[in-house]
């Protein structure tokens, strides 16, 4: 039987971006890291101790936007060690951490992008970007939708921000 795609374009406001993102985060953490992240209360975007690592990917097409995943460096190293099957002490430099956090961003962003495309909001995904630092602030301005979702895994915090608007 031939496969067909229904080209129904949905309004951005009608999409449950929060649910899409939450599902994507749960699935990626559980599948790739065997970690069950739990939703946490709203926190401050700058509430990460020490160096913060942010992985982000952007969308461009019928919608514009980006999704970024924030965590502190200590948890980024834990994630890297788990993903690469090594001890934390074996994680060398930034390259491994950047690759893992970039791939996590790509998977979470790819999942959200797929839901947008299924809703008729076709868009392309950029390659992941990594930002690291101890004192910076990311501000989301002039977006139709801005969602921030906080999670924790044991004592470790993860925040995901989605900014999106129709092109």
């Amino acid at each position: 039987m031939p496969i067909s795609v229904r080209n129904v374009i949905m309004n951005l406001d009608a999409l449950d971006i929060k649910a899409f993102t939450t599902n994507a985060v749960h699935e990626v953490f559980k599948t790739m890291l065997s970690m069950e992240v739990v939703p946490a209360g709203d926190g401050s975007p700058d509430g990460f101790d020490g160096t913060r690592v942010v992985g982000s990917v952007s969308f461009a097409g019928k919608v514009l936007g980006n999704i970024s995943i924030h965590m502190n460096e200590a948890f980024a190293r834990v994630m890297t060690a788990v993903m690469l099957g090594m001890e934390e002490e074996e994680v060398q430099g930034e390259e491994d951490v950047n690759d893992v956090i970039g791939e996590m961003s790509n998977m979470i962003g790819g999942n959200l992008k797929s839901r947008l495309c299924d809703a008729g909001l076709r868009c392309d995904l950029s390659i992941p970007n990594i930002t690291c630092g101890t004192s910076f602030h990311i501000e989301c301005r002039n977006w139709a939708r801005h969602e921030r979702l906080d999670f924790h895994y044991g004592p470790h915090a993860v925040a995901v921000e989605v900014c999106i608007k129709e092109a």
Binding site: T31, V37, V78, M83, D99, N106, N111
Partner: protein, 247 residues
Amino acid sequence: MSLKVLTVDDSKTIRMIVRKAFTPFDCELFEAENGVEGLATAAREKPDLIVLDITMPVMNGAEMLEKLRKEESLKKIPVIMLTAESGKENVMRIIKMGVQDYMVKPFKGEQLIERAIKFVKLTPKADTEASGEAGKRYFTLDGDVYRLALPATINRITSGEVENALKTKTQELSNGGKSKLVLDLSNIGGTSVPLIRLLVTIFQHCQAAGVAVRLMGSATLGNELKEFKETSALSIATTFEEAKAAF
């Protein structure tokens, strides 16, 4: 002769996951970071299976596949495509490319192996005596209850030893009509991600084998375990006798 598997992906993380997935099997792994390198490696090694990412710099997976299919000596090599996008249009595009199968990221190594065995015969590497030695080190039998004492340090090596020994032991438990295991965490000072992962693996494995598990350790550790969703519902006994009585 070992099977040859080629992974073409710009992400070291994904290449590592693929490598780990195939490690238990008798096969030789080759890696490339983009389509150009992938084609060159495929031409040189003539792999039995290619695991190919779509989005890559220099030459993407779709272009590499197209060129592969035009080469007489390479066109019959089965290809499993990897993609981060599960949208309907993307899936249709992949199917039209003529790949044997595709996987949407995130994926587990076991899922990749399930797909791979549809196209190639994977033979497990010969078992070593290591799991038997580890079994003696970590397991003791007390009446009809096995005791698995985890070491103070949980890392990749000790986790692997415990997991391998557990596979053998649960088989012995089932064959011997025993179905009770006390997991002794007295040596463990505090929680860590490797510990949580190992506990999840142990519980999953024992559940599948029909073995009941009770925990034993300090009350402090019991409280710390409640911070992780995976272990939040577990109760911990402070002595072996108390743990046995909980069955």
